[in-house]
Amino acid sequence: MEQLKTIGRELAMGSQGGFGQSKEFLDLVKSIGEARSKAEEERIVLHEIETLKRRLSEPDIPKRKMKEYIIRLVYVEMLGHDASFAYIHAVKMTHDDNLVLKRTGYLAVSLFLNDDHDLIILIVNTIQKDLKSDNYLVVCTALNAVCKLINDETVPAVLPQVVELLGHQKEAVRKKAIMALHRFYQKSPSSVSHLVSNFRKRLCDNDPGVMGATLCPLFDLITIDVNTYKDLVVSFVSILKQVAERRLPKTYDYHQLPAPFIQIRLLKILALLGSGDKQSSEKMYMVVGDIFKKCDSTSNIGNAVLYECICCVSAIHPNPKLLEQAAQVISRFLKSDSHNLKYMGIDALGRLIKISPEIAEQHQLAVIDCLEDPDDTLKRKTFELLYKMTKSSNVEVIVDRMIDYMISLNDNHYKTYIASRCVELAEQFAPSNQWFIQTMNKVFEHAGDLVNVKVAHNLMKLIAEGFGEDDDTADSQLRSSAVESYLRIIGEPKLPSVFLQVICWVLGEYGTADGKYSASYITGKLCDVAEAYSNDETVKAYAVTAIMKIYAFEISAGRKVDMLPECQSLVEELSASHSTDLQQRAYELQAVIGIDAHAIESIMPSDASCEDIEIDKNLSFLNGYVQQAIEKGAQPYISENERSGMSSINNFRSQDQHEALSHSLRFEAYELPKPLVPSRVPPAAVASSTELVPVPEPSYARETHQSASLPSVSDAGSLELKLRLDGVQKKWGRPTYSSSASSTSTSPHKTTNGITQVDGVSTSNSKARDTYDLRKPSVEISPEKQKLASSLFGGSSRTGKRPSSGNHKVSKAAEKLQVSKAAGAHTDAAVEKTNHEPTPDLLDFSDSTVTSTAPSIDPFQQLEGLLDQTEATSTVNNGPAGASKTPEIMGLYADTPVSGLTSSVGDPVLTNRDDFNLASELSNATRTSQVGVSQSNKGPNPKDSLEKDALVRQMGVTPTSQNPNLFRDLLG
């Protein structure tokens, strides 16, 4: 209402003195608000700009009007229109003596101008003057502007004044001076580096507010260099202690919590200082433990402090007692109905899990709930957590989940991120190559254009090299399964380019290797690809080369090659292509087809992509040829160095070296073009596409050697063209399984134990997981969820206990095998085969408790424990389901004093509201009724709005009936 009174008064005065501009502004705002389309809004704003331009060019504008114009211009620029024509007026306004005008000027200038704008130079002088002003409001205004407008060039001009203000009598000024100095430090650390000690000094300021302000720059400084501030640990701890013990004046309380923002800042600093430093950490334990106990967990800000405590505890040298307290807070966060707290809980869990991995287990169901939450933010945070706790036992579940989520995403930024995470995890923890390839296929299929090309390299390398074990049958199995999966996928529309490249390469190398598919079938498919992606040259190049390989293998196998008609037309089309690369490939293909089997054998050996190519740099195989030529009278070859020494002017090839010798006018520079040395690390993006193209490098290299042309090119080429197989780490393997396979000891008496029987009952290819399903009737929570929980968290219990004894491991292995055997005994041999696949996840549960003597019934006990937990959480979750729909605002207000908010006297709801706030503090149950109240609360608000509306009408502005929202109370 206040502003309407203001406007009203201004209007009243307007009739006398001509201050009617506010109505114009109001009209502008209203008409923009009511604009039906973007175009209409555009028109209105452009009109406004025209008006303002005209007005500003008038002479002798009254200052008050000028202020109004400037504000309108700021508004116009916020809407996205250029107001640069008026910048100079804003600058002029900063020179004014009147504080209001000065403030407006500074506001406009700091919103309009970047710190390197030309006009800034006109303001620096004013700022200098204002910083010395007697009126502290002017000083504050100038300090505010300084933060935005001063850059490293202009810092020296104002620095002395700002430093002087650090000793100003008003604490508000000291505080702002500190913060301005901090801003200078952020913008150009070098210019204020000699003043850094001031921050330390001000830490001892009498005013807690000033002290609090110094914490921000100190935090930045400590982040960069921890060691120089170790001596401050004691001071920080004692400050924090004083704050937590409420030694600060009451005015620093916020929602009954003593200076929470200062506490948060201090905890952040302590986390930095205590990280990896046992001595410093020990000094902090007391105070952090105190805060854990004292902090009010019902208010938002209280939880913020608690969260910061957890961050601190997980960063400093671990202390079991504090970790326990942190774990308690986390479980409270996770059990909360508020998504915000869940989010913080997941984040905190991710921090704590590094120190005490076992904590995740207690919260498995909460984590899974978060994973399935419709809230994207929460989901992503949970994936972050899962990423941190991935190990070989749960990688399959986690990556599957990630991929599912990735597929559902539209946001490319995050898609790229999660795809790279999937790849990273798969490379690190893949339980089997089969799985790795399938996973990669999925990632490529759905985010192929977003992942690093290096990933494609790794995949091709894996398929080509196999397991790294000397198991040829497994290798070929892997390849045929890859080929099969690619033939299935290849028909799908719009595959990413990188993926197609991999597909083409694999089909070319191994498409016909197992004899399952005919050459014409594969080449037909490849032709289809080349045709379907006719504007992707890289893919076409891959396809043509793959076709060439297929034909070459056919010929060397002694079969007759019939080129498909579509293949023929493709080759013809490509040999006339604008791309020389494609042309060459097409010609090569034609040439290869004409060669006999023996020659092909040597230029295009099958499955030789991983073989090292020896390069004869001296081209010794040409010696005979050269000898012959010399005998026939040809000139012998003179090396480049010799020639340049012999002053040959026409030699273009050594021009560079030449210049160095013959010209005298040369001031260094002109770097010699470096010979193309292929970096070991496969270059990303641009380079890599060319890098991958020439896959059949053996043929290249050898061909050129034979024809003896372009020796240097073939040299560099053969180095460069090779599919890079080195430098890629061998990360995958199947450690657990292979070990268990070796120990085949089975103790027959154990077939009686629970698991094996259950297992026997279930269907033939049951993994042990399915045992859950048998217990379905007694389960309230969906079995999938539990399955997920067990597969996600099962491993962690094992890792927690594994180191305890060495023979544990053996017994575990025996157990595992025994289970699979027993299952196999009941069914047919196929079961055994399936059991040869990665360890069933449920077994991980048993691992923790099973010893060789005690039969493994424990998993069920664990399961039951799990059920209890789930029931508990489910009731918690279901109970306040209605309440969770309560608007957040109410939740937040529940614990704040309401008086300030609904202060209008005589508001009938005021008492009501008070009651309910009390009630809400008492129990959750009333929250539902609160919803009702909050609605009834909105009752009087229309009244207020009507009053406002009426006032606006009075002022002669058309009513905003179309835009009643404008009158809705924000804190309704």
């Binding site: 809407l79 996205g80 403030r103 407006t104 938002n300 913020a304 508020s338 419709p374 933010t377 404008l966």
Partner: protein, 174 residues
Amino acid sequence: MIRAVIVINTQGKPRLAKFYEFQPVEKQQELIRSVYGVLSSRAENVSNFLDAESIFGPDTRLVYKHFATLYFVFVFDSSENELAMLDLIQVFVETLDKCFKNVCELDVVLNYSKLHTVLDEIIFGGQVLETSSTEVLKAVEEISKCLFCPSPSFCLNILFEGGLYTCSCLDWND
């Protein structure tokens, strides 16, 4: 540090935009648009946090709060605490509410410069300056006194009525 404070209404119109690191006008519009795009697609009872890296670049987070017809958005980096920022939004809105008595969108639109004054007393150069709405209000009132008198500290004619300062020595035209 806090990177930006943005207030947009539920139709996507910006009501206040303050970037603590300079952004050209076009970029500002683009950022506001993308923020609105994400916010408008969020359900009602989900968390108030958003991953802002795709919009504002690395190491940025976003906290927003929906009040009636307005979204209040704070963008900041990892040196701040999400829950604390949420409370800071609350402080901002509470202060506005005290300033304007049942603040509504219209107040926000019409008192553009006052909004900036309030915000400047809460956030200074990207750092949290003051979190007590009473203190903020005091500072703002100190400044608004000047709205009605050019030299408030020496003026004897300032009157306080109905939460407003007036001064009879008002003379703007000199």
